[in-house]
């Protein structure tokens, strides 16, 4: 007799697996590295402080180390759909939970300082208004 479909126990296992995979997708971000040793790398999203695009390289600043990738900010932004991430400038995506304070950079932009790193990001004046309207 050929069995079609799944019995209850198997369905339960599959559902569990899908749930776990979804959880992994939600918690971690996979990106293409520039290293020849490993093509892809996973990092926890909640450890990302900000991401910066400089020239043809993107730098991911985390609480531990910095990673580089050729992937564009738009590509990475699609993987960071959580509310925690905000496109503060055309060259920056920031994790709002690490934002410490701001300082005036130019007439139309601010520097963003973070907890756990001395590196800074930028936020345009229009984005500052959007940031305040969107959060809290």
């Amino acid at each position: 007799m050929i069995r079609v479909g799944l019995v209850d126990d198997e369905r339960l296992d599959l559902e569990k697996m899908v749930a776990i995979m979804k959880q992994i997708e939600g918690v971690e971000m996979v990106f293409a590295t520039q290293s020849s040793e490993e093509a892809y790398r996973e990092i926890k999203k909640n450890e990302i402080i900000f991401i910066e695009r400089t020239g043809r390289t993107t730098t991911i600043v985390t609480t531990g180390e910095k990673y580089t990738t050729y992937q564009t900010l738009n590509e990475l932004e699609k993987k960071l759909v959580e509310r925690d991430f905000f496109r503060s400038h055309r060259s920056f995506i920031i994790n709002i939970h690490y934002v410490k304070n701001f300082s005036l950079y130019t007439k139309h932009s601010y520097l963003v300082s973070f907890y756990q790193t001395k590196d800074t990001a930028m936020m345009s004046k229009e984005k500052m208004e959007e940031f305040q309207a969107k959060y809290f």
């Binding site: 410490k100 304070n101 701001f102 500052m128 305040q132």
Partner: protein
């Protein structure tokens, strides 16, 4: 002849435009004068509140030795029940001022105390949930007074009017810092507000709702001053009116150059 007409026309146009410019400038300066007069009144009021608070703290210090003697006597006489009651009452009195002083500078502590006492007098309940002191608002002391003073004054006025009709009212003040933004929220009971007033709130001076007020603009200018102060510090202001509640939420970015102690 044609030249003469052209010159007269030109002179007339110049005169009209000068007059228009003069009227616009007058309106602008009148508005500014009102805002300055309002701020001046707030600062003078605050000075009075600060002096009252200093006197109260002085009298507390003055009474300290007397309280110590009473406690000593009660302990000697082994009047445990009365001693406990006395200590509870004394602790309550001290806490009343201490809560307001926690992390606050004198100008904000005295303002909070003034609101608390005015509310007690008018049967309005007050709840302060200040995760960060109001004195840590990222702006100068005068602007802090302009912003918080006007917000609390408006809330107090509205809540008192509500309490007169409903015998109870509430004011709640919340502060916190999240992601580089200072968040200040003031929520108060209010009587129904006409739609045209709600639409104009924080956009332009609105007429005062204070009954019998001869110089209504003095009160209506408060919301305008709040909006201007928030704008000056690159912040945003949002309000929600849903009878019987009015909630005003202010967000001010924490700029390194303006960060004071306490954040």
């Amino acid at each position: 002849m044609l030249m003469d007409n052209l010159l007269i026309g030109l002179a007339f146009a110049l005169l009209v435009s000068s007059l228009g410019w003069f009227i616009l400038q007058t309106i602008r300066w009148r508005k500014r004068a009102r805002a300055l007069e309002h701020t001046n009144r707030l600062l003078l009021d605050q000075q009075i509140h600060m002096e009252q608070m200093i006197n109260e703290i002085r009298s507390e210090r003055h009474d300290f030795i007397k309280h110590m003697r009473v406690i000593e006597n009660l302990a000697r006489q082994q009047e445990r029940g009365i001693l406990d009651q006395y200590l509870d009452e004394l602790n309550g009195e001290l806490q009343r001022i201490n809560v307001l002083n926690r992390g606050e500078k004198a100008h904000m502590a005295s303002l909070l105390k003034h609101v608390l006492e005015a509310c007690r007098h008018d049967h309005v309940q007050v709840r302060y949930e200040l995760e960060v002191p109001l004195s840590a608002l990222p702006m100068g002391l005068v602007d802090q007074t302009k912003l918080v003073g006007n917000l609390l004054e408006n809330a107090l006025e509205a809540a008192c009017r509500y309490a007169q009709q409903h015998h109870q009212a509430q004011i709640e003040v919340f502060t916190s810092v999240r992601s580089g933004l200072y968040l200040l929220e003031v929520r108060n009971s209010t009587l129904p507000i006409p739609r045209e007033i709600v639409d104009a709130l924080f956009k332009q001076p609105v007429p005062s709702s204070k009954a019998g007020s001869a110089n209504g603009w003095k009160h209506g200018i408060g919301t305008h001053v709040i909006a201007e102060t928030v704008k000056k510090h690159q912040g945003t202001l949002d309000f929600r009116y849903q009878f019987p509640w009015m909630t005003v939420k202010v967000k001010i970015p924490l700029f390194q150059s303006m960060i004071h102690n306490g954040v």
